[in-house]
Symmetry: C2
Subunit: 352 residues, 2 copies
């Protein structure tokens, strides 16, 4: 604590990202990274990029990437916003839309960055409990609010809402912005991008970090009504004009051009998730239905913190949250088939 | 304007970065880019990076880059902060230190992003006039303030303050943070990093965009007392945990390792600046003494907006600001010797 900090800074409790261990040979199933590398076309595009050009500023608007995303998602370019990972996109969206008189709403068990943004931008919030099945209960969201945000599928539960459930909310909730954070949508959900033309207050965010295997490049985006996008651009251009570097844009554009690789790798992850779910159930675990690249699971007879520690001893890293209601769960990222087989083998040793 | 925007967003007037034209064959002397490509060692490092690793998140703390900067500038690693360009570093610093009861102070003619940050973060500010010679007059800065920021050398004037002048300010101004924005320091100034161990309220920011030819990679940094750095980390980790992508870190670390290339290219730019200054004076221009990679110049008989337009017709882009006191100046980036010779040739045609 320093006397030079603003009062705001003194009151911050920053988000703690999942551990990025510096030791080698760890089976890393803790931060929902894709176990498969980026498409060979991405690597080709980076290698082929003329690095002499790095002396120049990138296009502040990243128009090439916006156009590629617009074509891919069948919207207009002015309905697309891009940023330095979806975390930055979300931060800017909180400023652009959620600084309101009424509190914003999000689930009690959800992406733990949301309350952190609220503290940073001095936004009131109300957390609404998941139901007993750990589902988001949108029907219980009051219409009077400063905004609504939730991940779909939700993290860390993996549970998915249908487009019908989203549509129901949007039909009632017309006076504030609704952000659907689709970081994991490509692993089993239907994107709400299909709804943006009907609902001018709907903003959908996605990322290249998970299904596109580009966590190391930091690219996220939002799609919505052009007026929402214009609001985001205003805030972005008051914060940092050039958040996306040239190589990140190059990588992201190339990733969108390899649909076959995208389909192959996400299907492998979905197949591995199904296999892991069955194996965990075999071991007596309860596994929440997941539409993401992770599963959220608990064992009726084994303490989660203890399982976490014992897996770590065996060089397998999963995610454990010591929060209320979920402190008996582990979140396990879907790795390669070999990695999750090693996990099941280790759990057999620990439990069996 | 949309009813969904926050009141804050409605009131924003975003920073307008220099034009990034999409036409080819323009002589681009408008955004202070380095005319020389990044070091061959940077290009080698990017090419040699294992792109399969892009599937993973980068180190959220960018420790490798922080250590390289600490070694280079002879400070401890916990005195170094890194961000997505110095624009992001500055934005986070405004939040961390400048949200205060008293207004912050900066020159009336200066980096035009400062008032934009103030609007975004709702910070009061007072702009203090440059003197008649377009120098920052730190002696006139009142001791009661919420913070002080200025570029050194200043932009767009290019004028430099000495370390003695900075020391004088810092001896008086002990109760708020002083940020010295050294985007252009490598082209002729002495860095205030030499003073950070004496003044716990001094933060020095620099960038890889200019002297390191890496504008396309988006890397900036700050050096100061470890408590200031800790404040910045708190805000950064409440905004975006991973702002620096893997390839940007790789490029920046490699750039620091090629001192010879750095010296050669910056000396070429300094030599070209001296040559251009003499040529402009020959043509009747007044040229402010510059310690940056640009000159700020006016002609007693030729309107700056007109000169700007006529240069653009000849495919030469310089920067023109229509602001009070400086609307008769042009800011001209130092290009390659061939580029500035073409500029002088064109000015000869226009004026001669």
């Amino acid at each position: 604590m320093s006397k030079y900090w603003s009062e705001l800074t003194k009151g911050l409790v920053p988000y703690v990202p999942g551990e990025q261990p510096k030791v080698q040979n760890l089976i890393k199933l803790n931060t929902n990274e894709n176990p498969y590398p980026p498409s060979p076309k991405v690597i080709e595009a980076i290698d082929g990029f003329d690095k002499q050009r790095l002396r120049l500023y990138p296009d502040p608007n990243s128009d090439v990437l916006k156009q590629a995303l617009a074509d891919y998602h069948e919207v207009n370019k002015n309905q697309v916003f891009v940023g330095n990972g979806s975390d930055e996109v979300l931060a800017l969206a909180f400023m652009a839309f959620f600084k309101q008189a009424e509190p914003i709403l999000f689930p009690d068990i959800s992406y733990s960055f949301y309350p952190v943004y609220c503290n940073l931008f001095e936004i009131d919030y109300q957390q609404l409990p998941l139901n007993e099945a750990f589902e988001i209960d949108l029907a219980g969201y009051p219409a009077e609010n400063g905004g609504v945000i939730f991940p779909n599928p939700n993290a860390p539960t993996g549970r998915l809402l249908s487009l019908d459930q989203l549509r129901n909310l949007l039909q009632r909730n017309t006076e504030s912005v609704v952000i659907v954070d689709e970081a994991y949508i490509d692993f089993g959900g239907e994107s709400a991008i299909a709804l943006v033309d009907q609902f001018p207050n709907l903003l959908v965010t996605q990322t290249f970090s998970k299904s596109r295997s580009l966590a190391g490049s930091r690219v996220g985006f939002a799609i919505g009504h052009e007026e929402l996008i214009e609001g985001l651009e205003r805030v972005k251009n008051s914060f940092n004009s050039y958040p996306l570097d040239m190589l990140a844009v190059t990588a992201a554009v190339a990733a969108l051009q390899d649909e076959e690789y995208f389909e192959t790798t996400r299907n492998k992850i979905i197949d591995s998730r199904d296999w892991l779910t069955a194996e965990l159930q075999q071991l007596g675990f309860e596994v929440l239905p997941s539409a993401a690249n992770f599963v959220f699971t608990r064992h009726p007879e084994h303490d989660a913190a203890e399982l976490f520690a014992k897996l770590r001893e065996r060089a397998i890293l999963v995610r454990y949250f010591s929060a209320t209601r979920i402190d008996q769960f582990l979140r396990i990222t879907i790795g390669t088939q070999a990695e999750i087989e090693a996990l099941v083998f280790a759990l057999n040793e620990i439990i069996g």
